[in-house]
Amino acid sequence: MTRLEALRAVYDKLADRVVVTIMGAVAAELQSLGHRPNFFYLQHAMGLASSMGLGIALSRPELSVIVLDGDGSVLMNLGGLTTLARYRPKNLLHIVFDNESLLSVGGFPTATSTGSDIAGIARAAGVPRTAAVQSIDEFSRTFDEALAARELTTVVAKVEAVGPSGYVTDLALLENRFQFQRYLKSAARTA
């Protein structure tokens, strides 16, 4: 499975949810499917997308929050998994695309390529629901089950180490940030 295929499989289900992604290929590929004002791309600060998702989920329990993370970023903030597990917001779904490499900086292998198991680490950290999936069908089914469960879930999706040809798009970082903030504000009025 490629990450782009996985994103395409769940794209329609992101429509009315709050989505926070990491930098690089995840951000560029999600934008290639179509940017929406409820998508925020943390284009640096590796490791903190899950922390941002936690901050949003705790602040706005009525909203459904999805974090699209990666193995390189998770490995930079393994302690963050223990904080997620400690507060275990029911409205947070944590997806980790694991391509076993730091693709956007040259494809250097991460520790998941030599056996480190992020789903296992999340489970041991105390995340109440975890899964590791290999195929699109498994990913789609696990994604739906996690949303229905209304319990903090980390899903690790093994994906191929392929990505887009470039990472810079014409969506400026601050344009994205203020648009996303306005989306969250308007979501309050309709809630």
């Binding site: 600060a45 901050g55 109440p128």
Partner: protein, 224 residues
């Protein structure tokens, strides 16, 4: 939103009791347990290098700081424990209107505060100055890159009067680091200016969309 926010933020499981520290009153981990002993040159270091007793962390100053944060509308606090912050963290933990997020490392708090801000909740970070050192990349490439107002309360360890040798390097670089990061800051030294300075720091954070820092100083945080 306050009460539901606070309920959502409570921890899922129980947590172990903290232990009493023989000098400071409360600490977070057992002292001196599990250390290897050398079979030949065994030496039991003395705890009495500085004989004068240490005064306790000030409950009254901590209360003034906490009340000032509440008065500014802060409803989420992320924190990593340290001695000077014990009362502040306890006050946040006991307040049903406050969401307390206990961190594994301070940099997480930057992401959590960024998320809270975009979601419409005012937050503050409580950390030691060594926590500031640990959070630098998050401050630069999340809070500054994305123009996030970040209210950081930093205990200024390692300055004059510091007895713990391990705190003395961080104290010397804290203000230089804040200057290098172009983060506006003030000292909190006197209970009389605490509320005013916290309110003004938050005002600047929001008008500039930038991080600001308040250095919690020894004269404020310890009983005289």
């Amino acid at each position: 939103m306050g009460s539901s926010l606070a309920r959502a933020g409570r921890e899922g499981g129980g947590r172990p009791r903290v232990r009493a520290h023989p000098v400071l009153g409360v600490t977070d981990r057992p002292m001196g347990e599990g250390l290897p002993t050398h079979p030949v040159h065994r030496h039991t270091p003395s705890l009495d290098i500085i004989a004068a007793p240490m005064p306790p962390v000030s409950t009254s100053s901590s209360r003034i700081i906490y009340d000032a944060l509440k008065a500014c509308g802060v409803r989420l606090i992320s924190a990593l424990p340290e001695t000077w912050l014990v009362h502040l963290i306890r006050m946040a933990d006991e307040d049903p209107e406050m969401t307390l997020v206990r961190l594994a490392k301070e940099e997480e708090g930057v992401g959590i505060s960024a998320g809270a801000h975009l979601a419409g909740v005012k937050s503050a970070m409580l950390m030691q100055n060594h926590g500031l050192l640990a959070a630098v990349n998050g401050i630069v490439s999340c809070a500054q890159l994305y123009r996030i107002p970040l209210l950081m309360l930093i205990s200024h360890r390692g300055s004059f009067g510091e007895r713990d040798p391990w705190q003395t390097e961080g104290g010397g670089v804290t203000e230089d680091l804040l200057h290098a990061l172009r983060i506006a800051y003030q000292h909190l030294e006197d209970p009389l200016h605490v509320a005013h300075r916290i309110a003004e720091a938050q005002t600047l954070a929001y008008s500039s969309n930038k991080p600001v820092a308040l250095l919690l100083c020894r004269d404020l945080m310890w009983e005289p």
